[in-house]
């Protein structure tokens, strides 16, 4: 891990790291755990019934004929569920035991179906009707109780503040491609100016370090990039990864290779009230590429990694008049990573008959989505059930261990 720092020749610094006053050698902090957790929040309510299709339910085709493209290939998983074509690149992960799904799941939130409230509850990790949503996020509460956590143990990546990581627990926020607009000389003068004010001095030093980490080593060797390229060509929905999302993924990969153990970011554009096919082809394609980018970049660390893909709620079982769907309740969650005991579909299937639906319109949730996240953290980080049910996810009934990890 220390090796990368020896060879910093970042253009931003304009000089070798050893001489730069803005980069001081980091002491190797021992991270609290070996496992890596990545949480991806999909904002806008992903249609779980389309992302992970219950083709084995006899009622599905009738409900969804307005959307399903005839003659399309099925990307079957286990004989009951199949993946949306946009997620087809992840089928090999399922086969390799590195992908699982949890279906008919949601937070305890019911009825109002507000994106804003739904996301707040998803990230706060708690809700009771008439009660308050905690101002801190569940991931931050993990950081509050775990020993040995430092500022760079957990990163929230992206422009906006993530509720998921907000709170008193130490964490860092970073916007990829942040550079310091300083020539080498200006940088040295600034370091002089900051020297006597510890708050500014330390923050600027850390900024310089993070930037130097990102620029320091290429994410992957050239042959891996070529292999990635051919994987991306086969996907529906256009060129593989949006530039910004690509930068986020690169940054996450970079940091997880150093002291970081937790990273969170969000992807938007899932509120498919109309034109769902085009939107999900694009969005799910991008999600698949993001996950594969993480796998390719993390190398051996992928074997210790779990990626959770969560959204605030699902969408209506029926298609609306605009070839889309409206806000619902139960949805799907994806899990990926080498740490998984993958190739499994979790969640009791409630059925799609009218009487099986929640409020006659939505997929009925049969398990609290927090339970999956909870069991992952228990297995990966050794968090106790008591802490999970009282502190991290107040009000959660953790329930039986579904055996998510190896």
């Amino acid at each position: 891990m220390m090796d990368r720092r020896k060879f910093l020749t970042s253009a931003v610094l304009g000089c070798s790291a050893a001489a730069s006053p803005l980069v001081t050698p980091l002491t190797l902090a021992s991270a609290p755990w070996e496992g890596r957790l990545v949480v991806i929040i999909l904002r806008g309510a992903l249609d779980g019934l389309d992302a992970v299709r219950p083709l084995g339910d006899p009622g599905y085709l009738a409900l969804r004929e307005g959307l399903l493209e005839t003659g399309a290939e099925d990307h079957g998983l286990d004989g009951f569920f199949a993946l949306h074509p946009g997620l087809a690149p992840l089928v090999p992960l399922w086969q390799a035991g590195e992908l699982s799904v949890a279906h008919a799941t949601s937070t305890p939130y019911r009825d109002k179906r507000s994106h804003f409230d739904g996301q707040a509850i998803l990230e706060a990790g708690a809700w009771a009707r008439g009660g308050d949503i905690p101002v801190d996020g569940w991931l931050n509460r993990l950081l509050q109780i775990a020993p040995g956590v430092e500022a760079r143990t957990a990163f929230s990546v992206g422009r906006e503040r993530m509720h998921l990581l907000a709170g008193a627990g130490p964490h860092a926020t970073w916007l990829p491609k942040t550079e310091l607009a300083l020539s080498a000389q200006a940088q040295q003068l600034l370091e002089l100016v900051y020297h006597e004010d510890p708050l500014f001095r330390d923050a600027a030093r850390q900024a310089g370090e993070i930037i130097a980490d990102v620029d320091a080593a290429p994410m992957m060797e050239e042959e891996d990039e070529a292999a990635m390229g051919s994987m991306m060509d086969g996907m529906a929905g256009g060129p593989g990864l949006g530039r910004f999302t690509g930068e986020v993924a690169r940054f996450v990969v970079e940091q997880l290779g150093l002291e970081t153990r937790i990273a969170a970011f969000s992807l938007g554009g899932w509120d498919t009230h109309s034109g769902q096919n085009a939107a999900l082809n694009r969005g799910l394609g991008q999600l698949a590429t993001t996950i594969l980018t993480l796998k390719a970049g993390l190398g051996p660390i992928w074997g210790k990694t779990a990626v959770l893909v969560m959204t605030e709620f699902g969408r209506t079982a029926r298609v609306n008049g605009n070839r889309g769907t409206d806000h619902g309740t139960g949805g799907a969650m994806l899990m990926a990573g080498g740490a998984l005991k993958g190739g499994q579909a979790f969640g009791g299937w409630p059925g799609l008959d009218e009487s099986d639906l929640y409020a006659g319109r939505d997929l009925m949730p049969t398990r609290d989505i927090r339970a999956y996240a909870g069991h992952i953290m228990r297995a990966m980080f050794g968090v106790s059930s008591g802490d999970l049910e009282r502190v991290i996810f107040p009000g959660l009934d953790l329930g039986e261990d579904p055996g998510l990890l190896l």
């Binding site: 970073w174 942040t178 310091l180 607009a181 000389q185 600034l190 708050l199 923050a203 900024a207």
Partner: protein, 462 residues
């Protein structure tokens, strides 16, 4: 009292500007703060404007939906998109109007007070774009008129404002035994507004109130609500019948006047409660001076608040006159909005220059940087407002954002960058640390020199 002109304008105003002489007394600053000289030429969007605009958008949205599959659909889509663009433009213009004032005033105490009170009564961060636009009108109509007036009047105006009523869920609150409450299964009391009134707006969290007071106050507040197209209204059929007791006082009840009368009465009493004076005084000291203010300063301001029944001009005077406000060993880090505004001033931009910025530049040079520095415009993280503690503002990400702004933005804001050494003298007087003076002198060009001044802790602290 040690009034120091440079500290005065830095700590209590918008910061020094080459366009204006420094104030000579506290009265200079207080007198200027009593009025808004830009109100005539640059009025803000009003609450009524917003209410009308929101109703229009709702109508156009319906028209759009109902005309699906018909010939009118496209025209309706366009009308809706146009109305939404207009609303967005109005909000962007309000951001510019705010910075125009901050840049254009001679000293700027009034705008600092507006920022303080808007944050004290934080609202609007939740919800989508529509709510963010609305939050500006809370500041314009409920806060601005009262910043040098009466705290009670401000409190009353805030509690009647549609933005606050929605933000704290008062619109969902109705008395379980009210006429409507009895008919509906899931109608009930929502305590958010009552709780935040006590915890955040008046008494403060440590004060002697309990859950019963919160509930009673929530019952008393029933009736306050918002109706689309109308704004604030009072609905008698939401009112929980009966008297309520809050902090030992009884309000309303049989034979007593109803409607807003008992509500205004409890607001008056809360405003006058001794704990409120302490709470507000401490917040002012923490906001303007230091995260750890001199307790004597806080006591002095609290006493003035109590003696004058919350006369905010007097309270501001008390803040400025106490020696504890002038301690140069304790200096807060500027909030991003103040950092940018004081930078505009230091660069010699005045009202005319800010007014001339087109929407794109306002977005690139003010709005986006504010987000990057952690203070998205009108989006406080929660009802308690933005953080005061310095470490919240100087994180690696945020300091990088400030440094980058200092290095890149001045040249985009003005063709005539000042001589960095003169700029340093303007903002630091004879108090610039030796290393800063050296660094500014050693800079390879004006751009870097100006950037070093603006990025320096000397400039970033008040």
């Amino acid at each position: 009292m040690r009034f120091d002109p440079l500290t005065a304008v830095t700590r209590f105003g918008g910061g020094p500007s080459p366009l204006h002489a420094l104030p000579t007394t506290a009265s200079d600053m207080l007198d200027e703060a009593r009025e808004d000289p830009f109100a005539g030429a640059h009025p803000f969007t009003t609450t009524d404007d917003f209410v009308a605009s929101e109703a229009l958008l709702a109508e156009l949205r319906s028209a759009r939906r109902n005309s699906r599959g018909t010939a009118e659909r496209e025209a309706n889509d366009e009308a809706f998109a146009e109305a939404r663009r207009a609303a967005q433009a109005r909000a962007n213009d309000d951001l510019k109007r705010s910075f125009l004032r901050q840049a254009g005033l001679a000293y700027g105490l009034r705008e600092r007070l507006v920022a303080f009170w808007s944050d004290h009564f934080a609202a609007g961060g939740r919800g989508g774009a529509a709510d963010r636009l609305a939050a500006l009108t809370l500041t314009s109509d409920a806060i601005r008129p009262h910043v040098m007036g009466s705290f009670t009047e401000m409190l009353r105006a805030v509690v009647r404002h549609p933005v606050m009523l929605r933000y704290l869920d008062q619109v969902r609150s109705m008395g379980p035994n009210s006429r409507v409450g009895r008919r509906r299964d899931n109608a009930g009391l929502n305590e958010n507004l009552a709780r935040e009134l006590l915890e955040l707006h008046t008494l403060g969290v440590g004060a002697p109130y309990d859950q019963r007071d919160v509930r009673e106050l929530a019952e008393l507040l029933t009736g306050l609500t918002v109706e689309r197209g109308e704004g604030f209204i009072f609905r008698e059929d939401f009112v929980e019948p009966g008297a309520e007791e809050v902090l030992g006082q009884t309000y309303g009840g049989r034979g007593k006047p109803g409607g807003l009368v008992p509500i205004d009465a409890v607001l008056d009493d809360l405003a006058r409660h001794p704990a409120t004076a302490d709470h507000i005084a401490r917040k002012l000291a923490v906001h303007f001076v230091s995260d750890t203010p001199d307790p004597a300063l806080v006591a002095h301001v609290a006493a003035r608040f109590r003696e004058t029944g919350g006369d905010l001009a007097e309270v501001a005077a008390a803040l400025l006159e106490h020696p504890g406000a002038w301690d140069l060993t304790r200096r807060n880090v500027k909030w991003p909005a103040l950092y940018i505004a004081s930078s505009l001033r230091a660069l010699g931009l005045g009202a005319a220059e800010v007014s001339a910025l087109d929407p794109r530049r306002v977005h690139q040079l003010i709005r986006r940087p504010l987000e990057g520095m952690g203070q998205p415009w009108t989006e406080p993280p929660d009802p308690a407002g933005f953080e005061e503690a310095d470490p919240s503002w100087i994180t690696p990400q945020a300091v990088a954002a400030r440094i980058n702004w200092a290095m890149r933005s001045p040249a985009r804001l003005t063709d005539a960058l000042p001589d960095p050494r003169e700029m340093l003298r303007l903002v630091a007087g004879d108090r610039a640390p030796g290393e800063l003076t050296f660094a500014v002198g050693a800079a390879e060009d004006r751009k870097v020199g100006v950037g070093l001044v603006l990025a320096s802790p000397t400039f970033q602290r008040v």
